[in-house]
């Protein structure tokens, strides 16, 4: 029983961060149609911002959200209106655009990773944060994991509310469902795409800030985050935000279960197997349209 409780809680804690990572990627793909390979690099960027600000000034890492999020949002927004808009212009159709966008984002991944590496080195970085256990139902779990889970859950809920309640959120959903119809209804589609790409970056920044509180990271860990996010996005359904949240939690729990009962080394292989089977059986993903 204890084992199951451990898997459930730890899995949810990990899953909440996975969900954040995946939500960003999903938003970017859902509207802007960009499968952003450099997503993980922005997570790392935000993590380093948090690290530097926290260790130099001593302010609570959570407050770094206020610094990292706008910054990464701005970078992503600018990337879209400068690079990806042009890629869209030169691509004859959506299929070609998706291909080109992957390549451009791969180039960005190279550039950003190297810039972070040359300024911060390649060593793992972390700082102490809530280094004590939290006992629930008779089992010990890391207090920081619980804290991160709560914050991540709040962000997930807030983003869902934003999408369903605000005017901007509604136009994003409209643009995701049918870009042409949305533009006929007066949604400025290019602007919405850029904003969505920016929001993807913002969510990546949230994930980055939260990651610093629970595990070490380095300038080369970005691609690992990206692949996890891609796996989850495919599981949940490309472009579906709810799917990303659900997928994140499923993968978090599955990951803990696999590493407890089989081998932690087998975990990522198992993820890919799940995803490959899913792609064949139900390419739309769990919540895809």
């Amino acid at each position: 029983m204890d084992t199951f409780l451990l898997i459930l809680i730890n899995g949810c804690a990990m899953g909440s961060v996975y969900a954040l990572m995946a939500m960003g990627l999903s938003t970017q793909y859902g509207v802007a149609r960009i499968l952003n390979i450099s997503h993980g690099e922005f997570i790392v960027l935000a993590a380093f911002i948090t690290f530097v600000v926290h260790t130099r000034t001593g302010i609570h890492p959570l407050i770094c959200l206020l610094i990292a999020c706008p910054l990464v949002f701005a970078i992503s927004f600018l990337l879209h209106i400068t690079l990806f808009k042009r890629v869209k212009k030169i691509s004859p159709n959506m299929g070609v655009f998706e291909g080109n966008a992957i390549l451009v984002s791969f180039g960005i991944y190279f550039i950003v990773q190297n810039m972070i590496q040359s300024s911060m080195g390649s060593a793992p970085h972390s700082f102490p944060f809530m280094m004590y256990p939290y006992t629930v139902g008779g089992v010990n779990i890391a207090a920081s994991s619980v804290f991160v889970m709560v914050i991540a859950a709040i962000i997930c809920v807030a983003y869902s509310v934003f999408l369903s309640q605000t005017r901007l959120g509604k136009s994003i959903r409209a643009a995701a469902q049918d870009p042409q119809a949305a533009s006929l209804l007066g949604v400025k589609i290019n602007r919405i795409m850029a904003i969505c790409f920016g929001i993807g970056g913002l969510l990546a920044a949230c994930a980055g800030v939260l990651i610093t509180m629970r595990e070490p990271f380095s300038s080369v860990s970005g691609i690992g985050y990206t692949t996890i996010a891609i796996i989850i996005v495919v599981l949940g359904g490309l472009g579906s935000v709810k799917g990303a949240i659900l997928g994140g939690f499923i993968m978090g729990i599955a990951g803990y279960a696999i590493s407890t009962f089989v081998d932690s080394v087998f975990m990522i292989s198992a993820f890919y197997m799940i995803i490959m089977v899913l792609l064949v059986v139900r390419p739309k993903g769990l919540m895809g349209r």
Binding site: L35, L83, R86, V87, I90, S91, G95, V96, E98, G99, N100, I102, L103, V104, F106, G107, I108, Y109, F110, I111, Q113, N114, M115, S118, I223, T227, I230, I231, V234, L238, D263, V265, F266, I268, S269, Y272, M273, I275, M276, L279, V280, P283
Partner: protein, 323 residues
């Protein structure tokens, strides 16, 4: 036979093409006899990426399904060489590696080519990463090691092997382009639905083309790993090997069979130069990548072509060896 005649004999252009390939082949055959020990190795690496790039273009360039599985086939070839390389001569292993890659490619094609473009890309992207993790797990838990030693062969021998694989791949692709098979593939790329209407068996064509494009990757993998002498999962299945052929093809120009070759050569030489001179290799490389997609959508080959077209009026835009 008809086809060979059409591609290499019937027109003046075809004859020149045949002659050029033959001349290049013969010239290359003699390179090791007068060069030092290193140029054949370097050329073998260049030809490896040329092979990866043209075989990638044969499938993905035509159909528009972007495959990122090159690293998977390339790495499988490497592992085959590591496992059976000591028992068989190099030629046999290369052939078996091509067959293995063909078989795996066929299987993967069967289960994935029903998918829409982006899902296919993700699946193939995942395939190489999956194999990486899987081999890590398998080797660690069952053979209790990480890497394997590979039998090494003389650089000249590897050079000849890769040269033959490259020329065979090139000739085969040129032939297939003009065949019914190649034409139906182009049809699929233009409009899959209408291709189906005019009686093309789209699924079989796609799957077969994907498997064919996988075979050369396996072959060069098996050949080249014997110059490294050691293989581990991180060397065999790495993302760069999936992305490089794509970038090389786009860089050179995908609309011609020769474009990817030009792209691969420039890319590899540029990379070699950057690695030896700066430590900003990745930044420059990333920038080149972005700029190429933005500024040279038709690649270097397209750039040269349009420069010539500007000078000569009434240019049709047609090039030999076109896709």
């Amino acid at each position: 036979m008809e086809l060979v005649k059409k591609v290499f004999w019937e027109t003046k252009a075809a004859k020149i093409q045949a002659l050029a390939i033959l001349a290049a082949f013969v010239f290359m055959m003699f390179i090791p006899s007068f060069s030092g020990a290193y140029p054949p190795l370097f050329l073998a690496w260049v030809m490896t990426y040329c092979t990866l790039s043209i075989s990638w273009t044969f499938f993905s360039g035509k159909t528009g399904y972007i495959s990122l599985a090159t690293a998977a086939f390339y790495g499988l070839g490497m592992y085959l060489q590591a496992v059976i390389g000591r028992e068989f001569p190099l030629g046999v292993t290369i052939l078996l590696a091509a067959l293995l890659a063909f078989g795996v490619g066929f299987g993967i094609g069967l289960i994935t080519l029903r998918l829409r473009g982006i899902y296919f890309t993700i699946f193939t992207f995942g395939l190489a990463l999956f194999l990486n993790r899987f081999f890590h797990w398998y080797e660690g838990v069952f053979t209790r090691t990480k890497g394997r030693f590979v039998k090494t062969f003389d650089n000249d021998m590897v050079f000849y092997a890769v040269l033959i694989v490259f020329i065979v791949t090139l000739v085969a692709i040129l032939l297939m382009n003009k065949s019914r098979f190649g034409l139906s593939l182009t049809c699929i790329g233009q409009n899959e639905d209408s291709a189906q209407h005019i009686g093309v068996n789209t699924t079989l064509t796609k799957v077969l083309a994907f498997a064919i494009s996988a075979a050369p990757a396996g072959a060069v993998g098996a050949a080249m790993i014997s110059t490294v002498g050691y293989v581990d999962p991180d060397l065999a299945f790495r993302m760069l090997a999936s992305f490089f052929p794509v970038l090389m093809a786009i860089f050179g120009g995908m609309f011609s069979t020769y474009g990817p070759i030009v792209g691969a050569v420039i890319f590899y030489v540029l990379q070699d130069y950057l690695l030896r001179t700066t430590n900003l290799y990745m930044v420059i490389f990333g920038t080149v990548m972005v700029v190429v997609v933005l500024v040279l959508p038709k690649g270097i080959f397209g750039l040269i072509d349009s420069m010539i077209a500007k000078k000569q009026r009434g240019y049709s835009g047609e090039v030999i060896g076109d896709v």
